[in-house]
Symmetry: C2
Subunit: 354 residues, 2 copies
């Protein structure tokens, strides 16, 4: 840097000012400086910068462990976050969420390596959030906890997503709709999406004026098979199923197929909080409500950076609904239209998960 300064016939500090726009520099000298940097192949040293300015321009992502979902959208979250960070001049480091011990998080945060963190897979009452709040460390969430007062987050609009899906199915003539959620343990742990969809499903069926039944299900094909069988047995009037459990889908399809039912003429299936990638893995291609990964992760990063750079801006938040994409797994239920004899009535209830 000193070499650059000499070569441009200015003081070392002037180079710094030119670099950071932290003080007016005459256009002429600025040109000279940049030319000198070019010629010498000078690159500002990130660490030295960080030390002096106390801002590393590095943010961390507490990434999810790839168990629940298929891993498809999770990857996109990570890559999109890295892209967005870079577009804003930040680097993105990955911190495994296995850092379950919050003390480890504290340790990392206080190392001064990162300016802030983005927390994924937030639970309603999340130790990590409590800790970050306590030590007053900047963060944003993809997802959200229960008490979001003063917090920045980007989350899925589960209410809208569920309403749109249920209304769509009701509009096709379905009178009884099931919701196959993720696992009971996720619910008990207060994992946001599971808790919220559970509530919003109940709300949506009430609004749509149809019968509804919901069940938890661990994320695996065989559990999907078992739970679907139970649902179909105990609830003969069922003609449509909504699920947020991607890994259970093959089992669901199998249970339907074994009854010699055809999708979508005999039974409709919608996967919510899913993706086109998932949809096209099945035959027929599934109707899905696609999670807007790119937007969510972009928002998560931007919300954090905003907080980092603004003086006293109120942390913002955004809700992004999933987008319903109708494909081949939904339609009117021809089976029921034919069997116009008995009108099935089922009480909204609960079936134990597999």
């Amino acid at each position: 840097m000193l070499d650059v300064a000499k070569r441009a016939n200015v003081a070392l500090s002037t180079v710094s000012y030119a670099l950071n726009n932290t003080r007016p520099v005459s256009e002429e000298t600025r040109q000279r400086i940049f030319k000198a940097m070019e010629e010498l192949g000078y690159r500002p040293h990130a660490m030295a910068r960080g030390l002096a300015s106390k801002r590393s321009r590095i943010i961390a992502l507490l990434f999810p462990n790839p168990e629940r979902g298929l891993g498809i959208t999770e990857l996109e979250f990570v890559t999109n976050a890295a892209d967005t960070a870079r577009e804003n001049g930040y680097n993105l480091v990955l911190w495994p969420s296995e850092m379950h011990d919050p003390e480890e998080l504290r340790l990392f945060a206080q190392q001064g390596l990162v300016d802030g963190v983005i927390v994924m897979e937030v639970r309603l009452n999340d130790e990590r959030i409590n800790l970050l709040r306590e030590i007053d460390f900047p963060f944003s969430m993809i997802g959200r906890c229960a008490d979001t007062d003063g917090l920045g987050y980007a989350d899925i609009d589960f209410k809208h997503t569920m309403l749109e899906t249920v209304n769509y199915l009701a509009g096709l003539g379905h009178k009884t709709i099931a919701f196959l959620n993720q696992s009971q343990s996720a619910f008990d742990n207060g994992y946001g999406p599971v808790v919220r969809t559970e509530a919003e499903f109940k709300h949506a069926i009430r609004v749509a004026g149809v019968e509804g039944i919901s069940s938890f299900c661990r994320p695996a094909p065989h559990t999907g098979y078992e739970v679907t069988n139970k649902l179909l047995t105990e609830c003969p009037g069922l003609t449509a199923l909504i699920t947020m459990n991607e890994r259970a889908v093959p089992g669901i399809m199998q249970a339907i197929a074994e009854r010699d039912w055809h999708v979508p003429d005999d039974f409709s299936l919608v996967v919510i909080v899913s993706s086109a990638r998932m949809a096209e893995m099945m035959t027929p291609a599934l109707t899905t409500s696609d999670i807007q990964v790119a937007e969510l992760s972009r928002l998560g990063v931007e919300l954090l950076i905003q907080q980092l750079e603004a003086e006293e801006h109120e942390p913002l938040h955004e809700l992004v609904a999933c987008k319903l994409v109708v494909r081949g797994s939904t339609g009117p239920c021809l089976r029921v239209l034919k069997e116009s004899s008995s009108t099935p009535v089922v009480a909204g209830g609960k079936i134990p998960e597999a």
Copy 2:
């Protein structure tokens, strides 16, 4: 740090030495120092450390863009790499591979932020590798280029993987086996796995003494459908198919189903360089040759760190074969056994991709 030193009645440097084990420190004073650190809640500052030692203990991962595969294994690569890095006391930052302009890579490398990089999705002649070599920047590869002289890498053992798969099918009695690779353009770009599996397939069928036919196919269900149809039409004796194209699988299955063939009794399917997650998405569950993600990414990281920390160690490399897991999509071909009239013979050839 000075406070810690005072509180422990030692010099500032002694604290440093105790922290880095860079010089013997008597057990007694070491205890005093750590106690003082504890009491003061002292955390060494990462950036200052990096500045002084010229080693940031940060490594970068040039991650893949999630187009080719399903995204399942890719996520595991990233998370496992982050875990392994952390276990070795390193941080892992993500650098988007869209950094196609090698100049941008040079810029990042020379910022001094990271000590080394791990390159994924390496092509046989990869600009990034050439650049890193040229500027003498430490790196390792997951995958490998053509000239690996003096380079550290962890890659799939395609030869073993393909031999095992073909031998397994031949052992079941299959006489004509197809290989559905990824896209022609990936091959033309010299993407390692595509080029290597293509060659190893030819080698393996020769060794096994069976007929073989191979074809490229873009990564999507409908192209999988089209290519499979072409293969089945032009090659009536075909009873088994190997693919490395996960996204094409639904199309492959559909083409088979439309012929009223049942898997595995009428036709066998193996997906190589895949995973259990993929396998269980289909009915019947697929026989796959699973990529050993955890091991590969661990090796990739460790190889780099070894290089970073060792004095003059020769860069090492490792090949890891995929592991064949037999599930429901493979077996003897009953269809051919029944139609014992005509013995189909087909010349090994090439079918244009969809």
